[in-house]
Symmetry: C2
Subunit: 152 residues, 2 copies
DNA sequence: TAAGATTGAGGGCTCAATCTTC
DNA sequence: GAAGATTGAGCCCTCAATCTTA
């Protein structure tokens, strides 16, 4: 492809495969998750750290750090999820600038229902198709790519 | 993470690394592309097959097949790009149901400017950090994952 | 009926203001 | 001024409904 002048055929194929696998795999997980538990991928991601916290409540700042999301992305997502009845928002007692995000009953119930199916799906669509050696290689590669990107 | 009960620590780490690498890498490419050539990733993707076609014109059906995009996604993208002056739309002479998508001068100029920098970026952020053996492993893995997903 | 395409609604993401509180 | 958070605009994507032509 003209997009890849400067990449040889093998590299082009690997790069296209990476892009396609990324889209198909995450898309399949998203659809499956949505169908079985009614949760989008973003909703699921937000509920996980909250369900692991002491009492189902975290400062928005902590939640954002756990997810590695910026403030804006989190604020938009929390707003939508509050409207859906999965979360509550409140002010932070210790620092009036901060906000607290908490699970509702519906939110806790949703994540507890969704988690086992989601994990099974990741195993079935990803790990079941890979050898131990391939998993090791992928782990090393992703770590290296992330380290290089962090240095930029 | 509670998200990964049923995955061991090593698997969880690899999966998180996959998700993070995906987001960081594609995000970095997107931002770089946008900064240097003013094209989004989606716009770039659409322009590539058109720039490789005979006269810069393809049936929407062909373009969608080349990108592996569904009709709706392509129609929305073409509409935005037509508004930006990168593409033209017309009716298909051979089949009145079809539509023809063509490059404008601005579109051709944009892709020709963007392509070398984009390829260099993919090389710098991805292939430069991988050994030959790792590239082979990744190629095989992505092919296998895609084949498995296609069978579902 | 099926194929090609378009549209509107709605979730999701990023960027650039903005507001409040430290 | 800096930190925590929110908001609005704009692009991207998917889904379902619709319209036209084959």
């Amino acid at each position: 492809m003209a997009a890849h002048r400067g990449l040889d055929d093998r590299e082009t194929h690997v790069w296209q495969g990476y892009l396609a696998a990324q889209r198909e795999l995450l898309g399949a997980l998203e659809r499956q998750n949505l169908r079985e538990s009614g949760l989008s991928g973003a909703e699921y991601a937000v509920l996980v750290p909250l369900s692991e916290s002491e009492d189902g409540v975290l400062r928005a700042r902590e939640l954002g750090a756990a997810l590695d999301w910026d403030r804006s992305r989190l604020a938009h997502q929390v707003r939508r999820m509050e409207k859906r009845g999965l979360l509550t928002r409140g002010v932070c007692a210790a620092d009036a600038r901060g906000s607290m995000v908490g699970l509702t009953e519906a939110g806790r119930s949703a994540i507890e229902t969704a988690a086992p199916a989601h994990v099974a799906q990741v195993r079935r669509c990803f790990f079941d198709h890979l050898s131990d050696a391939e998993v090791d290689t992928l782990g090393a590669v992703f770590d290296r790519l992330l380290a290089a990107l962090a240095e930029e």
